[in-house]
Amino acid sequence: MICEDLMRDLDAYVDRELDAGSASAVRDHLTGCIDCRQRVAEREALGRLIRSTPYYSAPDRLRARVSAQAMRSTTIRRMVPLAAAAMLLVSIGGGIALMRLTASRRADSAAATFASVAMVPMVDEVVDGHVRSLMGDHLFDVRSTDQHTVKPWFLGKLDFSPPVVDLASIGFPLVGGRLDYLGARPVAALVYQRQKHTINVFVFPDRDSSGTIAVRSVRGFHVRHWTRGGMSFWAVSDLNDAELTEFARALQAS
């Protein structure tokens, strides 16, 4: 590979959007080319600088106005199911056909990424749990970047001991943990940070075992699921797909 070839792939490499083969070709070139290493370093530094600019969060008054609007429209929408129910009474056959159609469409899209359709409700719960933790003031029960503080905190609070590792060395610092409730059981929630993105990892015992990482996106959030050592892991974040996969792989391998 010559520098010109690398220039074409440079940004995709920095953004972790290259396939494994191309990425490894770029890495090979970088070991022998100081100019291209400089180009990569510049782009990474630029990214860090851009992320250090102030984040424009929605002002409270905007949030309040949008909530108020949503409340008003929800009131109207609540009446729609009543109307739908009335229609169903008139035409039960049609209603059932419609329900079937909805169910099969949902199953199709799920099966594309998850082997088992039974996982789908769990994915929704995981995303709900993530959103809940960010909306209120309850992201942490124990706030610490030290795995040796976070792990013992769960002792006596759960009937299992979740594995806790810090991934700060690869840019995913552990920031804390809390007790949560998913799939009708108490679970450990570990909280990691990547720049301004929060990653929740839900952990609980699971007899199933599969080495693969399952991938799913729901409502703008990405979910990764795997089982290992008798534990089920669910990582969820609004972090981009590539970085969440990198995180999941690192956590799985740790």
Partner: protein, 173 residues
């Protein structure tokens, strides 16, 4: 889709929507108006949210809302270049947040980013700040993935040359 309340799906992405709108408009008050209009549209078209990417869906609505406002204004005043520097006059009042912005590099990189043409600015914001994948950016901006990549490359080249030109940057060497 299941009867899930609008607020559960959309409100978690309100900060992201506002941040994107603020970088598009470069103006706090206008960003608020754009996001509020966008949320009204989002509510109206809520049932059209087919896929699972509510955040990307909301970004796309914010973007459309902003472009239709720009187009409307352009038809009234004849001249409103999207990429010009003339929007800035409207943003004289600094947020407290902005007043605290003292670090030199951060101020310079922000200024450089604000000066980028909007087509470049938005892909940088979606990628570097919001962390969207190329595929997700392509869906929001409605351009091919290859174009996402070339816009990002050109945007970074421009930013780097502006930043290197204005002062030697220790952070970039």
């Amino acid at each position: 889709m299941p009867p899930r309340a609008f607020e559960e799906t959309v409100l978690p992405h309100l900060d992201a929507a506002f941040n994107y709108a603020r970088w598009l408009t470069r103006n706090h008050a206008e960003a608020e108006d754009v996001v509020q209009d966008a949320c009204v549209r989002a509510m109206r078209f809520f049932t059209s949210l087919r896929g699972d990417d509510a955040r990307g869906w909301l970004f796309a609505i914010v973007r459309n809302t902003w472009y239709s406002r720009v187009a409307r204004r352009a038809s009234m005043t004849e001249v409103t270049p999207v990429d010009g520097a003339q929007d800035q006059t409207a943003d004289n009042a600094l947020d407290p947040e902005e007043q605290l912005l003292q670090q030199r590099d951060v101020a310079r990189v922000r200024a450089a980013l604000e000066q980028l043409p909007v087509d470049f600015r938005e892909v940088i914001v979606l990628r570097e700040i919001e962390g969207l994948s190329y595929k997700e950016i392509a869906a929001v901006v409605r351009i091919p993935i290859g174009t996402v990549m070339s816009r990002l490359a050109r945007a970074r080249e421009r930013l780097l040359s502006v930043l290197k030109a204005t002062a030697p940057m220790e952070t970039l060497s």
